[in-house]
Symmetry: C2
Subunit: 364 residues, 2 copies
Amino acid sequence: MSANGSAPRSERTGRSGPTIHDVARTAGVSISTASKALNRKGSLTSETRERVLTVAGAIGYRPNELAQSLHSARSKTVGLITNDSFGRFSFPIFEALEEKLADQGFAVFMCNATDDPARERQHLDQLMRKRIDGLVVTARRADKRPALSFLVPGVPVVYVYSQADDPAAICLVPDDEGGARMAVAHLVGQGRRRIAHISGPKRFEAVRLRQAGYRAGLKAAGIAYDTSLHVNGEWSENWGRSAVAHFFERKAGRPDALFCDNDQIARGASEALRERGVAVPKDAAIVGFDNWEVMALGARPPLSSVDMNLHTLGREAGEALLAIMSGERVTGVRRLPCSLIIRESSACELCAEMFRTKQRAGSP
Amino acid sequence: MSANGSAPRSERTGRSGPTIHDVARTAGVSISTASKALNRKGSLTSETRERVLTVAGAIGYRPNELAQSLHSARSKTVGLITNDSFGRFSFPIFEALEEKLADQGFAVFMCNATDDPARERQHLDQLMRKRIDGLVVTARRADKRPALSFLVPGVPVVYVYSQADDPAAICLVPDDEGGARMAVAHLVGQGRRRIAHISGPKRFEAVRLRQAGYRAGLKAAGIAYDTSLHVNGEWSENWGRSAVAHFFERKAGRPDALFCDNDQIARGASEALRERGVAVPKDAAIVGFDNWEVMALGARPPLSSVDMNLHTLGREAGEALLAIMSGERVTGVRRLPCSLIIRESSACELCAEMFRTKQRAGSP
């Protein structure tokens, strides 16, 4: 059996993509067994069922229209599957999705799959038995994941802060590149020319896109890209501190601004600058990413940050789902704009003074 | 109408607590209307229904056995209602509850009520229509909330990291007092005698219990309680910094240890000590609460913290629910033990050196 090979060509004509015949052949089972596994009917060993489902996912099998029409009764329920065990990204999406769908009388149930495909399937089975009207899939990172529409035949699926390995899927993700460009444009607007980029791990698509946005932002401002100002590391405060040590140990060529790939990195960088006596924002401005308030507001001074607008993503996921339910065809990857929340760490002198006054007035 | 008065005495004998007659009279509606509202049958204006349900909750109405037996068919589904919009407390509970119940073939669906009673009722209606077998209620604080068992007649309810205003309810909460006692005993064991308590807001039961635990811990060690070493404030880093300024501006009578009611306070305190040149843990040890790793590990040195064992709470909630389902009577408030996670901020000199060596070896 080769579940990880490339998708086999369809054995039948008139239909694009692999069929149940392809699934059966690749999994080494009969058509009837494949059908039982895919439709959750009849008795099969769990090993056989798992194998068929794994193969179906691996070769990109999607159920046909007939199977889809079998699912018709409305339950006014939408499932939300998440792989974000921190809940940091999922919760705002969950809240906004609920708000959007509650208006139309839908309840949203969240299930937690914690990156375990077997657990995810168990949840999907349960949701199917509850006759959900729609499914939203989210995660703690927006990278591509195996599609799961074949596991929920006839049910509209929307991916949000998550992408499926299926061109027919609708995926809503933040425009990371645009967010990074915005941060750089803002720093350039503050007169900064030596903008360092303290990046996260390259294996994240978001990191690669933010890097592209950083370069595009520099280019738009006529600033040459300087490889010595770009460093990759981890998603931690510690990495932010190390990067500052790296940049500020040298006497010449120090950055006058830091664009950080998340607020934890920015927070660590901010502390390290403070300890070195580098004034923020005067001598070095900082912009983070995520607008995670507990981090951004805890820093001194409070951190500017790119906000991915997770609430908007959640609301738009609800809208996309309603559109599909009403018969519209909605597909492709949509990158929704980020916002820049400016706080003292990157404000101009006048605004920084205003922020400081406000903070003094507001503090107990 | 007086929905907020004290519970009226029952008009019928042989049954403790208010009856549907009491609900109807207090809400100013007929028995038939009250019954329709409580059983979600017939047509009523949403205002009337809301009024009846509000009254039923306010006077502590609970449905009788007959109504309960109407709910019989099993759906192998458990609902989890949360009011924790950060997800920080709910998520670990959700995960552990799922793990526990998945073994018995139950799926857990989470619904987010965001402190909105109308939204909560909407969710409960949906869950009842899905014929849930059980309901778990959680929140972002463990304080008492109105009971909601009358909204889900016949369905076992367990409160976790949340307490119901109903002595018949089963409520699982962390032993805040014991956790605080443990922190103080540890600090005393490190030779500390002037242990300050930087508390959260008094309106939280957890804060009052931790204060009691702090005093009990001092007493057990034969240390007199010094009111000047205890201060109440907010759940923020800023409060931790202000408290350190308060304690360390004076020359004499400075604390040699800080016990903080959460990790944000501890983090702020830790930074403020660092800036004042007070060595941690040598000159002042620190212990926080929550063991929120992003805060505790981001601090320098990493913070010791009391862990509320939210995973254990979630698992025990699952066990309590299964016990009730199998006919056991499970009631009352159970306070589950906390653990103390010791890191460098409160370690003895020898251990602190070991922690530092480990950290250096582990850092990239």
